[in-house]
């Protein structure tokens, strides 16, 4: 059930049976020579929709632009400053909390979002934790947020290792590229890359990143990507993350 594709009375009805919502967040940034700029947003959105279909959970609109300052050396990359992204997440969660949503399950498609998203959760919680000092009631609604990276579903990890082994790497991976091709087969760009496997290592700002990783990839060979692999990976991610969502909603 996508929030964008239902009416407000349907949301009202949903809230009588659940306070949970799936929040996809991705990024818009270079993904190497043959990966799509929207890879991280597409992956998060596809997995989130799959969770919604499988569990009946409400799915919020995707946050398509994340924290990707380190990719700004490559055309097409976009970033929000961390301080901006914190404000966005706070406003979105506060908005939904007005209506009674209380459990926010963020499906994340981009490693670069993790720190800022976690900080955003703390910014939200701090509002409640510091409330007694500002005269607000202690019985504020107990909002909870959880961050899950779709690629950390154990089913996904197993499949990635089987399919790509050490060619998986950590940015512009064949797994994520495959997943986006499964969603948009017409955008698939099979390609032989040179070197086959990209270099690895740390980085700081955008100039530093581009110097170290000239075609954008880190440690990966997305030349191995395929639509078929993408379909299997998407299914694995949905199965794994839907289970995570359901058990979290139950226990929390």
């Amino acid at each position: 059930m996508q929030l964008q594709l239902v009416t407000w009375p349907e949301v009202e009805s949903y809230l009588t049976r659940s306070q949970g919502i799936v929040m996809p967040i991705g990024s818009t940034e270079q993904h190497g020579p043959n990966g799509l700029v929207g890879t991280d947003a597409i992956c998060a959105e596809q997995v989130a929709k799959g969770i919604g279909d499988r569990t009946g959970a409400m799915v919020a609109p995707t946050i398509s632009v994340g924290m990707a300052q380190h990719h700004m050396g490559f055309p097409g990359s976009m970033t929000l400053r961390p301080s901006t992204l914190i404000a966005v997440v706070r406003d979105m969660v506060e908005s939904l909390a007005v209506h009674g949503f209380r459990r926010f399950f963020f499906i994340n498609g981009h490693g670069g979002n993790i720190a800022t998203l976690t900080a955003a959760f703390s910014e939200i919680y701090a509002g409640a934790s510091l409330a007694p000092a500002s005269g607000r009631p202690a019985n504020m609604p107990a909002v909870r947020c959880l961050l899950k990276n779709w690629w950390e579903a154990k089913q996904v990890g197993a499949l990635s290792r089987e399919l790509y082994g050490r060619a998986e790497g950590s940015h512009a991976t064949p797994s994520e590229v495959s997943l986006t091709w499964a969603a948009y087969p017409e955008a698939a760009k099979p390609m032989t890359l040179d070197p086959e496997i990209a270099p690895t290592g740390g980085f700081t700002d955008a100039a530093d990143y581009r110097r170290r990783f000239p075609d954008g990839r880190i440690g990966s060979n997305p030349g191995l990507a395929s639509v078929e692999a993408g379909q299997r990976l998407l299914e694995a991610a949905i199965v794994g993350m839907a289970a995570e969502y359901e058990s979290w909603i139950k226990e929390s």
Copy 2:
């Protein structure tokens, strides 16, 4: 050409022939008893993609959550504070300006965004206008932003009047509802509304809005919406806005 669905080398190549980009911005908010919560984002996205297809323009990812504080009395509505949305637009434009984009054509799907979006443009321009005082060079890149509401294409206005006359109203209009049904026919919810035409008038905050417009509509009868009308309206909007884009890029 959607930014999300191309690679960074393709963006690099695009920039050798154009500095323009289409930026869809919508909203996530109630649209009456049978309109979708995502109506404004869907409309902006559909029109923007159509412009991209027709003109070859690059299309950025959609800003799905806009400024809709006045709809917060209805479940499912989301809003960014104006100050947050200004920061988002600034970061997105600055990101793309790093790569050489200079003309930002915002296709807007939500009246409530107009003021804040216009203020955001001024916040961006002010960076250049105040630059001499902060020691930055006067020859900063001359970024330009333009805001166009898709429904203001003259072809759309004519068609809306023909189809719905005074039942068009100003929120949850049969035109916008139709357009979303054209994009997602499975989400169409034909319905007879009571009263047929909703009340009209001004409003302030969310409580005030809900008091005045109990089912969310303003002055409209979206009971008249249809997939077929939506297809015609979408086509009209694309034709009209593509022409606007092309003439702006040429002249500016």
Copy 3:
């Protein structure tokens, strides 16, 4: 009744009979070769005082510096960033709301303020609309803000057309220049301008504006301004806007 010229017990007494207040907002920016830098602030202040005299409404101190980044290419122009102006308006409205003021009638003297001021109203309303999520009571005071441009009184439009026709233009108009001369006759600077009527068109940042409009005017011939016309225009604006104020207070 100007807030600056009464005592606090007089304000206390006023609040027992009215919750309305007139808020003049202008700008400090170039107004062509013979218009005053303070034109927009002076116009807003004069009209606001006139409303106060005519209706007994309380009149707040004038916001003299507005959003005028596009005029920064001309000496003497000043601007607040939109984000700053939003904070100013929020603090001013919140301050007066502490005492029980609930209806804020902004008399605006500068087109460049409209978007930011409207966004500021939404920032204020958003505090109430998002309140349930932050644990604040739903019964917050229902503050309402209204923006009126003094030149949009129908009496003013009729008189401007009669006096200046198409020489009115849109910046440094003979009407606004006349009005300031009526207030400060010693500052009148009759002058023949070349070209008589300035060019028209859009603009972005300050450098772009100055390139297009080298003496600062847009589409106007303020060489036609006069003290006498200013007196008539001021009277027309006061009559028109006082009526707007009174009917708004009654209905809202």
Copy 4:
């Protein structure tokens, strides 16, 4: 020479002979039973205009609302949060620095502004002091700001002591009330106060202030105010502060 009452070419011409500007800043807040809400803004504005007349200095528009949170217990008082006022002062100084103004002489009418205004100066200077780290040139324009309280002109102190002795007090003083009456004789409200001299002491927030000083005054007897005394005090302040301005411009 008031910035509001000249044209931009006149400002351009002024800048060829001076980089100085007088910046009046006051407050809008209760001033006891018979003092005007606008006392501090009126005093600053009157003194600033007098400096302009006497020295030929440019005078900026008055900042009428200052930092007066502690007066919020009395109807009519307004305040900007310190963080807002810092942003206002930064934007105003940056705006004028674009045109070449370099010496900002703030004539202050309100003790409560001193800390925030001084902090605002540091916020501005910090932009230059931290510039090397953000890649901006070290040769940024050397903006300088000076804060002077009009009542600290030695001529004013002497006259206050002579006229009022210990009845001067520190808020709603007979001196400042007199000065505003000199400017607006029709607003004079002679009155016998009880107790004649108000209590003294420190305070924190608005509730605390009102508890300690029930009619708003601190240590003063504004029942002694008069138009005549105001004329003498205004003249003294202008003479004293004009001399301060001229010697600062010369030396700095």
Copy 5:
């Protein structure tokens, strides 16, 4: 009793008998040729600990980096922007207020902090003063903050004058340098300075400061500093400030 060196049950117990806390705040900045970069933080911390030992007051962790933009021309100096320091002080006070602390006695070691710290107090108070407008209860906890510069204890002034007379100066004074040497005798750097007494005067940003005061001192001769003097000054400051703390806690 240092907050850092006790357990939370001990804090809980402390709060049953006192709502007061000592908040040391210093700076990290150049202190001339032989003064330590940490001088102001060390002085504030030493005096605050002494107050805690003498009175049993709780002592918060030291704010070591303050507002010192004007010292940025000398290696090792650090600064927070005023807007940042205001946020820090607000968060710290709000945190402690959650637990029931109500009286915050700031022991300050740096003149450059005074304005910003005072503005921070107003930012905190403004939260309470504007509370009625945001729907928060009027009975918020009455937090009070007091700023005391350790060197203004009358015992310290007397001793400084006796020891150093006019060689005390105003930055990198022999008194403060001595006090730090008493705390860290191994860091003492006896030295003959040239000129013996540094120049005096005002300043604006960092470049201006360094131009006027080439070795960092203002008006002082820290060549006269000694461990022994430091021990006497520390004792004097503790005695004086402990008395200030106790009388404030009693009366407020």
Copy 6:
């Protein structure tokens, strides 16, 4: 070499041979029934000083208050909002970058800081990554930040496992408590805890945390802490982290 305990000429000299600096960051928060409120700040500071002694690196003053909103249910805990901590870290790094420092090695003592600190690094890098759009030179200084948790030195992990096994837990661990007792033996509070090992699990805001972990500990038995163990752990942390620092400085 502690920055606080040297003079500015000594910093100037240091910068001729190194651009590295160690930045200790901790937290001020409950650490269970017998752990100190300052545990995390003390640990970070002790380890940082040890690195300085061992390698000759400059050590900045400790950030004592971190992001600990989740501990606010226990008296004495303090927190900065994530947005505040980001501003603090940005200002501190920018300050030191003015002087030529380029490698910032953060020794962290608190898990709750990791996300916000990482986001702060990105906020700093984003300034450089977005610089081309704001007209700033591309050749900005290449600042690099690294975050290391002292307890992740492999020597520390081995020793913790040997000493405490599964009683180590994750908050108020016997290892960190021991380390603080080694630094402040007089503050040691040997104690038998009930239950011996605290519960484990996730948490959100402060109320949620206190409900789940009533005495503050998570999964640990700090009843096993001792001064002797603390001395060994401190030595292990210093050896491990000094090696990390040196190899990072060399390679980066």
